[in-house]
């Protein structure tokens, strides 16, 4: 790693006369620029080329998709139409949206008050509560899945639907609580005090003062939760496997390949269609997103 210099070492002030020393410095700076940008370009290829190959294959004919050729001989855009005509594909789309939208709304509504209490109230056991939130966050979902499944299957008879995944989100999500609390800690106590002096109840303070101030944090948490639900594979696999009508895109996609035998072109078209919404949402909500990622790490 030769590019770790925080600044080109050539940034030294030299005299204004254009002597050979200055030329050497300038040449070194140019070389440094070229090396740095070539490295960045090479790295960019690693990140971008997979999308390019996936796209190119998605518009190939059935025969060509198996040939190992990289460039499509003819552009078969109808592959995308065919993916949408695949039985179930539109249902999976609808189920993914249902899971992601309801899951996000439930999570935000239930996690904000909890995060607020943990950030701004002083009470006995606050530290313990915070530690419990963090341990829940760290818990691999596989640890509790077996008894949880048995409850949903045998007592509540809700397996084969997405409800076992959506309902728990109305009861606070540890990760969202943690992130929101980190964000709420940054709101100065004085705002809350003055609201209280004005006779605002806690709930009014939360809704009128805290929520508007915490909008960026809430947006970030909502986005994260939306993506979590959209991407979730384990949950739908556990609870909806036996009922293809309840599958989500993330779960259905994997069966796509086998349903279509070895048709990589249609599988790649479907893959891009599963990626697309997430990437579109990202471009619209870029700021909130980066804010959120930084929130997880930097504000600690």
């Amino acid at each position: 790693m030769t590019t770790t210099a925080p600044r080109a070492a050539t940034d030294v002030r030299t005299g204004s006369s254009g002597g050979p020393a200055v030329r050497a410095v300038r040449r070194k700076r140019v070389l440094h620029w070229i090396a740095l940008h070539s490295l960045a370009l090479a790295a960019a290829l690693f990140f971008v080329l997979p999308f390019v190959f996936v796209f190119l294959t998605s518009v190939m004919s059935d025969g060509q998709a198996m040939s190992g050729e990289l460039w499509p001989r003819a552009w078969h855009w109808e592959n995308y139409a065919q993916v949408f005509r695949t039985p179930g594909f539109l249902d999976w789309w609808r189920n993914s949206l249902l899971y992601a939208v309801l899951g996000t709304v439930f999570t935000v509504c239930s996690s904000v008050p909890v995060a607020y209490a943990l950030a701004k109230f002083r009470f006995r056991g606050r530290r313990t509560a915070m530690l419990l939130v963090i341990s829940t966050m760290m818990l691999p979902p596989q640890v509790i899945v077996v008894p949880m499944y048995l409850v949903w299957a045998q007592q509540l008879h809700l397996t084969g639907s997405l409800w076992p995944l959506i309902i728990p989100m109305a009861f606070g999500d540890a990760y969202s609580i943690f992130l929101l609390r980190q964000f709420l800690l940054t709101i100065p106590q004085e705002y809350l005090e003055s609201a209280r002096v004005d006779g605002c109840g806690e709930l009014r303070t939360l809704l009128r003062i805290v929520v508007p101030m915490a909008k960026p944090g809430i947006a970030a948490v909502a986005l994260f939760q939306f993506f979590y639900c959209w991407n979730d594979y384990f949950g739908p696999q556990i609870y909806t496997a036996q009922n293809p009508g309840a599958w989500t895109l993330s779960y259905g996609l994997e069966t796509f390949k086998s349903a279509h035998m070895v048709n990589w072109n249609l599988t790649m078209a479907a893959t891009l269609l599963v990626m697309a919404p997430v990437i579109v949402v990202f471009f619209f909500a870029q700021k909130a997103f980066v804010e959120g990622v930084t929130l997880t790490g930097v504000k600690g």
Binding site: G68, I144, L253
Partner: protein, 317 residues
């Protein structure tokens, strides 16, 4: 409490407690129903024989001795999980830091580079895995086409080779480095510029500046990346499962019982084994034992790392 001087204060105190409980209530319910109960039930079932049809019967420690000493897949699953935790986390942190440094140094097209490096992180894991199984497919995948075009005669068969399957998964995880890149980028931009200038005046070279200026100020973030990386990789599931299934070429669907971890158990993780035992073999007891082993390891690792101040709890706690 003989002091009757402040009944008002006491009432206020009680009202505050009720208020706190009210705000916490969604989580208190969620924690008990969706965390504490299933955890206790897991412990209960780990001492039971239960095939999810007949009533559970008490079998003492039999599930425990079976899983820990006899079950053939326990060893490989544990080994693969630990391998992934060590190799994947380490490489992700190094690569994420490298890309983060690169992005902070680049002068032209910063926005474009940043977007290019970030976007793959957004790809849903299943979609990314399907894409990589295609890209790396041994017969006609683009990667091997290119490798043989540049003269590599027998390129690896990636997800179909027990020795290459895990490295292929690592590559997939490096493709989605965007989250770490953003975190490191923010940390690197936070390093005070004057410190670099001072170091430069002292004649420090590039490496010395990284070692003595950059590194000390980003260690908390590196620590954070390691902790979250370990936690995520302990539960590594989707990518390994989907890659194994797709590469094996076995048609999958509800009711198909397949041996997880293709090829040759090389991608079998503890999480997959829990699923396989609990939902394919209906061996609830063994699945719960394995869950508890996973739980114990996860808790041990996180408490160890948290003690080293991972920055998860602020000082005021």
């Amino acid at each position: 409490m003989a002091l009757s001087v402040a009944p008002e204060l006491r009432r206020k105190h009680r009202r505050n407690r009720l208020r706190t409980l009210g705000f916490l209530s969604p989580w208190l319910v969620g924690f008990s129903v969706f965390f504490a109960y299933p955890l206790l039930a897991t412990v209960y079932f780990s001492f039971m024989h239960y095939n999810q049809i007949k009533e559970p019967t008490f079998v003492g420690l039999r599930n425990w001795t079976y899983v820990l000493t006899q079950m053939p897949l326990f060893g490989p699953a544990l080994w693969n999980t630990l391998w992934l935790v060590v190799v994947m986390v380490a490489l992700r942190v190094v690569f994420g830091l490298g890309i983060g440094l690169l992005v902070t140094k680049v002068k032209s097209g910063v926005g474009l580079f940043r977007t290019a490096f970030y976007i793959p992180y957004l790809a849903p894991p299943v979609a990314a895995t399907v894409a990589f199984v295609f890209l790396l497919s041994p017969g006609s995948g683009p990667v091997n086409e290119i490798l043989s075009a540049v003269g590599i005669d027998s390129p690896p068969t990636w997800f179909n080779d027990p020795a290459w399957a895990k490295p292929s998964l690592v590559m997939l995880s490096l493709w989605g480095i965007g989250d770490l890149m953003v975190i490191f980028m923010a940390a690197l931009l936070d390093v005070p510029k004057e410190q670099y200038e001072a170091a430069e005046l002292d004649g420090a070279g590039a490496w010395a500046r990284f070692r003595y200026v950059t590194w000390p100020s980003i260690t908390p973030i590196v620590m954070f990346a390691v902790v979250t990386g370990v936690v995520q990789t302990m539960q590594y599931y989707t990518q390994a499962l989907v890659a194994g299934k797709l590469a094996s070429g076995i048609s999958v669907g509800p009711g198909t019982v397949i041996q997880p971890g293709y090829p040759d158990h090389s991608t079998l993780t503890v999480g997959q084994l829990v699923y396989s035992l609990g939902f394919q073999n209906f061996n609830t007891g063994a699945a719960c034992v394995l869950s508890l082993v996973l739980f114990a390891i996860a808790m041990a690792v996180t408490s160890l790392l948290m003690r080293k101040r991972a920055g998860l709890l602020t000082a005021e706690d």
